[in-house]
């Protein structure tokens, strides 16, 4: 490389990067900063275009003083944590199967598991109502078989929400875990077996510690998706609130963009904190091993 070729090449690559940089700045950073800015602005209420009362913390105090807001935030947090833990553990099975077992129709199995990837929350909410709602297929079948009407309306309770959220986490958790397990060397387990370890011991002392970082990163991915989802609850439940639902109501029903921005900032920060904690934990696990 000659001395003049290098900067020219760098310039050209810089130009190639420019559209991407524009997207990141204009569509991500500007909206995020706008959210942050307007969360500290006085509320304009229903009057669009009228300037608010300048800088204030009122939006945040209002948010944290409101019992409904706190309950919605708590619901969002606990549901997301619970569902991600649940789906990460369950999806370990299909991920393991896809990597370590050879069988016919494996590609079909993977295809079926990726199906929910393109379903938005509302579709999954509808599927849940069809299956577990008041006239749902499963409760009807159970009543026909056993005579028990106990399962009617499962969709509208916590169980229904859990299954609906599991539905859209299945492809995400399975894919993330599958690529992590692909990197595991099966000889570690063989070595442990040759040293006389039982299957349980192999899992507990060899496999589990090796996949733990992958489990944590899968947990982080699924948590983020769950935290931002609102379609399921929008379709299923009217009495059960989440922060995204509240944000939607502030905008849709009250046109209170400042309150919506405040809730958005709280939700984003909560998501980033949990993500950061999980990443730190994963890094510590890796460091501990080395």
């Amino acid at each position: 490389m000659t001395g003049t070729a290098m900067p020219r090449q760098q310039l050209r690559e810089g130009l190639l990067l420019l559209p991407l940089l524009f997207v990141v700045v204009a569509l991500l950073l500007v909206p995020l900063l706008t959210l942050l800015h307007s969360s500290f602005q006085g509320s304009q209420g229903l009057v669009v275009g009228q300037k608010g009362g300048g800088w204030t913390l009122a939006n945040y105090t209002q948010f944290f003083l409101s019992a409904a807001s706190r309950r919605a935030l708590g619901n969002s947090l606990w549901i997301s944590l619970g569902v991600s833990a649940f789906s990460t553990l369950l999806c370990l099975a299909p991920a393991w199967l896809l990597v370590r077992y050879e069988f016919r129709g494996k590609r079909w199995l993977r295809a079926f598991f990726t199906l929910p990837m393109a379903f938005s929350g509302i579709i999954i909410g509808f599927l849940t109502v069809i299956m577990l709602g008041r006239i749902g297929v499963v409760p009807r079948a159970i009543e026909a078989l056993t005579g028990s009407d106990w399962f009617y309306g499962t969709a509208y309770g916590f169980g229904g929400i859990l299954i609906a959220y599991l539905y859209f986490e299945i492809p995400r958790a399975t894919m993330t875990l599958e690529s992590a397990i692909q990197k595991l060397d099966p000889r570690w387990e063989l070595a442990a077996a040759s040293l006389g370890a039982s299957p349980w011991q192999r899992f507990r002392f060899v496999t589990f510690p090796l996949v733990l970082p992958a489990l944590l990163s899968t947990f982080a991915v699924t948590f983020s998706v769950s935290l931002g989802s609102f379609g399921v609850v929008l379709v299923i439940s009217k009495r059960f609130s989440l922060t995204p639902i509240q944000i939607f109501e502030e905008v849709y029903a009250l046109s209170n963009y400042e309150a919506a921005a405040t809730m958005s900032v709280v939700l984003i920060v909560l998501g980033l904190i949990v993500n950061f904690l999980i990443r730190t934990l994963a890094a510590r696990v890796l460091a501990h091993r080395a």
């Binding site: 990067l17 706008t34 099975a93 199906l115 509302i122 099966p186 077996a193 931002g228 379709v235 958005s264």
Partner: protein, 277 residues
């Protein structure tokens, strides 16, 4: 491997089959409900479609006609929007992904992290930021496109960068250059052909995600420009379950072939890598 315990295999297979049922059963039920006459179960949508067609038929496709009549604009716009998404992602993501792999500038790592950031930020919050930043209350369709691009672009860029990082593209390009090819010639004859598979899979993925996206799109939809999920939401909240099932089945008819092609292409590629080609 002969050291597998029977118990472990049973658990792995059992849980997988259970999850498979959870995924497939609702889809099959909805498809069945969209064309089977369920009035014998005491559930019927007759009032919604004006009682046209014989009520005695077991199979009827009248709900599809009803949905197509009512929601054709959303369906067409949804496809158009998804195609726009693919175009923008190709134009922005391919050169950008290339530049990111080349690490032309010190900040490239940060840009790559920022690009993936939307995947861990709720779409609804970004849509409010976009509405406020650009001062348009329920405004223009390009704002909807902008919001979706933010959530589809990471997939295109990742598909480009992971392909470029999987082989020594720099050496290959240097070889082409040393043989006298110019920069654009190298791009056209060496780099882009090596990305062909990544671009096809990336485009299909972007199309599928855009067509089904609801989180960031919900508040960015305008009365005149709405994607198909908006029509689905309308049927879920205002229509009977059979009309909703028909609408959902139409959605599946568009999205499932795309997902299957992605799987088929992905499988071929991975097997080629496994064979060491």
């Amino acid at each position: 491997m002969h050291n597998r315990s029977l118990l472990a295999t049973t658990v792995v297979f059992g849980v997988t089959v259970l999850l498979l049922c959870i995924v497939i059963a609702p889809v099959l039920t909805v498809i069945a409900g969209s064309f089977l006459n369920t009035s014998f179960l005491g559930i019927s949508s007759e009032q919604w479609v004006g009682g046209k067609g014989g009520t005695g038929d077991l199979i009827t496709f009248k709900w599809f006609g009803y949905v197509l009549e009512l929601y054709r604009p959303q369906m067409i716009f949804g496809v158009q929007l998804a195609l726009w998404n693919v175009a923008v992602c190709l134009l922005v993501g391919v050169p950008g992904g290339y530049a990111l792999v080349r690490r032309a500038f010190p900040g490239c790592g940060v840009i790559e992290d920022l690009l993936l950031l939307p995947l861990s930020i709720p779409g609804l919050t970004i849509s409010i930021g976009l509405l406020q930043a650009y001062g348009i209350i329920r405004g223009k369709w390009w704002l909807l496109l902008a919001g979706q691009v933010l959530y589809t672009l990471p997939f295109m860029v990742r598909s480009v960068t992971s392909t470029l990082r999987s082989y020594d593209h720099a050496t290959l390009e240097r070889a082409a250059r040393s043989l006298g090819a110019g920069f654009w010639q190298t791009c056209w004859l060496v780099t882009l052909p090596s990305l062909r598979h990544a671009l096809v899979v990336g485009s299909l993925l972007v199309f599928a995600i855009s067509f089904g996206e609801f989180n960031v799109s919900f508040l960015l939809n305008t009365p005149l420009h709405q994607g198909f999920p908006a029509a689905l939401y309308a049927t879920y909240t205002t229509n009977s379950f059979q009309v909703s099932s028909a609408a959902t089945t139409l959605f599946l008819l568009i999205i499932v072939p795309v997902l299957l092609v992605i799987q088929a292409l992905g499988g071929r590629e991975t097997s080629r890598i496994e064979q060491g080609a």
